[in-house]
Homo-oligomer: 468 residues x 2
């Protein structure tokens, strides 16, 4: 196959740009930092949305929609929040041809405006928990942008909940972390994430506790794939989200927020992609099976249409390509680039013997299969390849995770993956030192891998890495 992409080993960032361009996933938009997500890229995001949304609904949250524009004064009500976001705001100063009395900002995130409405809707402990989510676009004026990973406008879901107690808020933030995000990332994205707690330095602006899921990319850099925050009573106090408790007293609620974004598309590309393009895990893939007519001939079109129907009936997301006016080689390269897990190739020669070829994207294998056995073979291949993508990503992570005894060792090891270092041997000073060298503490975990309640617990392990 002709070289279409810069090889990963030669220049990983260039490879990333190449894949996005050649697989027609996205392009830069005209306003700095904005992006156009093309159908192939957007279909991947739509599948992410479908899978995450199912899990959010299972966790009891309901979707709603809050305004894009937020009065500038709202942001200022929570001190850390405004400090964190003020430098990144896009400000609307003119509306309907007139200067606005109060400028409005395009939401960089919606804690403030949702806090305002939660305060209206929550009166009594019976109104709690209030579990909301929205799928929305947000905008942060970033200095350095990169398609999917750090764009000014991006798409995400942001969950916002209010609870009667700190314990309930914590339990819910963790439920989202594990039952929604971790489950989705491991079982659908096939990315084995390290799930832990952010340090104070890395915490969300306005949160008391931030939990994170960190994936390892194939260049040894970490990517924050999603976060879930306990906001304590910070926003409840700033927006007066109060309720009459069962005890007859007024209390402030405890709130959480949590989100995953189009950034996950970038993670998907970098966690599984290879020198031929994307490899999309079957459980996610918008196109799981690609029925492709190599060359016209007796019975070819009919068999292709029949296999297309059979696979659809078997619950496979399938696409039929009969464009024999475009050279087969080009179409096959495109299918590789887009990472379709299974190709079913039909030509007159094989078909004469009753066979088609099943080409698998994950291991590159090509196997002749009898027409009558295709549906079963495809379903089995999809299951096997989901597992093998996950296992390969896990093996890669294990091979690129080093236990370090000192900060210096950890910074060195973080050149090529995760470095694990006892948090007691790192601490805030070590963290600052690492940061100065381009390495950050991605998260803290307990020795058994579980998520700590506080960074002051004994025996915590810090994961250090370079990151996106």
């Amino acid at each position: 196959m002709a070289r279409v992409l810069t090889p990963q080993a030669e220049d990983f960032p260039r490879w990333y740009q190449d894949v996005i361009a050649k697989a027609e996933l996205a392009e830069n938009g005209p306003v700095r930092g904005s992006q156009v997500i093309r159908p192939t890229g957007w279909a991947i995001w739509e599948r992410m949305v479908a899978e995450v949304d199912l899990r959010i609904k299972d966790a009891g949250a309901e979707n709603a929609s809050f305004p894009l524009l937020i009065p500038q004064s709202y942001l200022q009500r929570e001190a850390e929040h405004v400090e964190g976001f003020a430098p990144e705001l896009a400000v609307v100063t003119i509306g309907g041809g007139k200067e606005l009395d109060e400028p409005a900002v395009i939401r960089p995130t919606s804690e403030t405006v949702i806090g305002e409405f939660m305060a209206k809707w929550v009166q009594s402990y019976r109104d709690l928990p209030l579990l909301l989510n929205q799928w929305a676009n947000v905008l942060r004026w970033e200095k350095r942008t990169r398609l999917f990973l750090r764009s000014s406008e991006f798409h995400w879901q942001e969950g916002h909940t209010a609870h009667a107690t700190k314990d309930d808020a914590r339990a819910y933030a963790r439920r989202i972390l594990h039952d929604v995000y971790e489950d989705f990332m491991v079982n659908v994205l096939a990315i084995p994430v390290v799930v832990g707690r952010k340090t104070v330095r890395e915490r969300f602006a306005g949160a008391t506790d931030t939990y994170t899921l960190e994936g390892l990319m194939r260049d040894g850099k970490a990517l924050q794939m999603g976060t879930s925050h306990e906001l304590g009573q910070n926003f409840a106090k700033a927006f007066d989200i109060g309720f009459l408790g069962g005890d007859g007293q007024q209390h402030h609620a405890w709130t959480t927020s949590w989100g995953v974004s189009t950034r996950m598309v970038g993670g998907l590309i970098m966690a599984h992609g290879d020198d031929n393009g994307l490899r999309v895990p079957p459980a996610l893939a918008p196109v799981q099976a690609y029925v492709i007519v190599v060359k016209d001939g007796e019975g070819v079109a009919e068999t292709a249409a029949q296999l297309h129907e059979e696979l659809k009936a078997a619950g496979v997301r399938v696409k039929l390509d009969t464009r024999t006016d475009i050279p087969f080689g080009r179409r096959a390269v495109d299918a590789e680039l887009r990472g379709y897990p299974v190709r079913i190739e039909l030509g007159p020669r094989d078909l004469k013997e009753g066979n088609v070829t099943i080409a698998r994207r994950v291991d590159g294998s090509k196997t002749p299969v009898a027409v009558g056995a295709v549906a079963k073979a495809v379903v089995e291949a999809l299951e096997a390849d989901q597992k093998s993508l996950h296992d390969a990503a896990l093996a890669y992570r294990e091979a690129h995770t080093a236990d370090a005894a000192t900060l210096a060792e950890a910074i060195e090891a973080a050149g090529d993956g995760f470095a694990r270092l006892p948090w007691a041997d790192c601490g805030v000073e070590g963290e600052n030192e690492a940061n100065a060298k381009g390495v950050s503490v991605r998260c803290l975990v307990r020795a058994d891998g579980s998520v700590p309640d506080s960074e002051d617990e004994a025996g915590l392990v810090a994961y250090l890495a370079r990151s996106y």
Copy 2:
């Protein structure tokens, strides 16, 4: 039942506001003209999205995502377009703490930015047709706003396509009009729409031909429910969307755009709602059947759970309400307000005789049904009520459509519904005169009800009405 809403006959606009508030559909946002769509309202929109999206995909268009912010200069490239939208723009002048070199506008619609990218992607006739759609928020700084019907920010889908010929563009704009929009509105929303052609005065800014679907609300006013536009070569020339034809010559493409929005939620409320609240057509309803425990008692909770499962298994969208700590009356009123088509009420008394009560929202009937026969009865009720809502809306429209012989008669008749007047007896002058009296020409249709190719065809009929 206690009076919860202002009756329609007393004050229709007030009734509309009351329903939205009491059914918890939406509220005004903090920035003028913005709206918060609450879970009950958003679930209705999500169902609209799902049904329309299916039909758009069946029509071959693919979803993508274009940026929220558009350079101000883009708008200026198409003269009518900028004239139409300039007064309604929200302008971002500050980004990341700095005045921007070129201000960016929040998209009021995306012909311009999509035109820019189509020009890059279309090179040859082989790249056509290019069929794109996006689900997005847009913003128009409206002077007078009303929840769902006319809000500054709203949600919609906007389709944008490019074609090699005028005929192909026309055929596609019409395909969307009929196969996507009309089919959805009639068969899912149960709203019988008048499908026709806009006059030059009412045409989209930048279009050569605008087609529309007009519903009649229960106060006798028309609502434009969706539009599909042929843009001719206006945008293709402004953005240089050119292609090399099969004839070896360079040509400009022909483009279309088409959209439906959250405004349809307002249409749904006003086309079917009554003095007890919403009536949501079963084919659309996010909750089709509401299993509600009247009072606890032997076997009640178990039977409720069992019916919930049975209905789910039968493919019914069902919700279970076991909140017996809230008075039954209040919960029943809420269910009426939200327009759930069927309620299954369970209490110990009926259950002793093996019965539950099926309460139907559309006709207000209450019937005892044996537990074992519930699933079948519910499925039948849903089908029947979908039809009866549609038939009632059609009967209402027929009773409120008058054939007028003169413009004066038409303007008079438009006080209470549609007035049909030969376009030859109205014309541009008549249209202007009607407009001065608060009546507009909603669309032109042929005598046989089909959609005209031009307003100059002989024998056209104009539909006049007051409108939203």
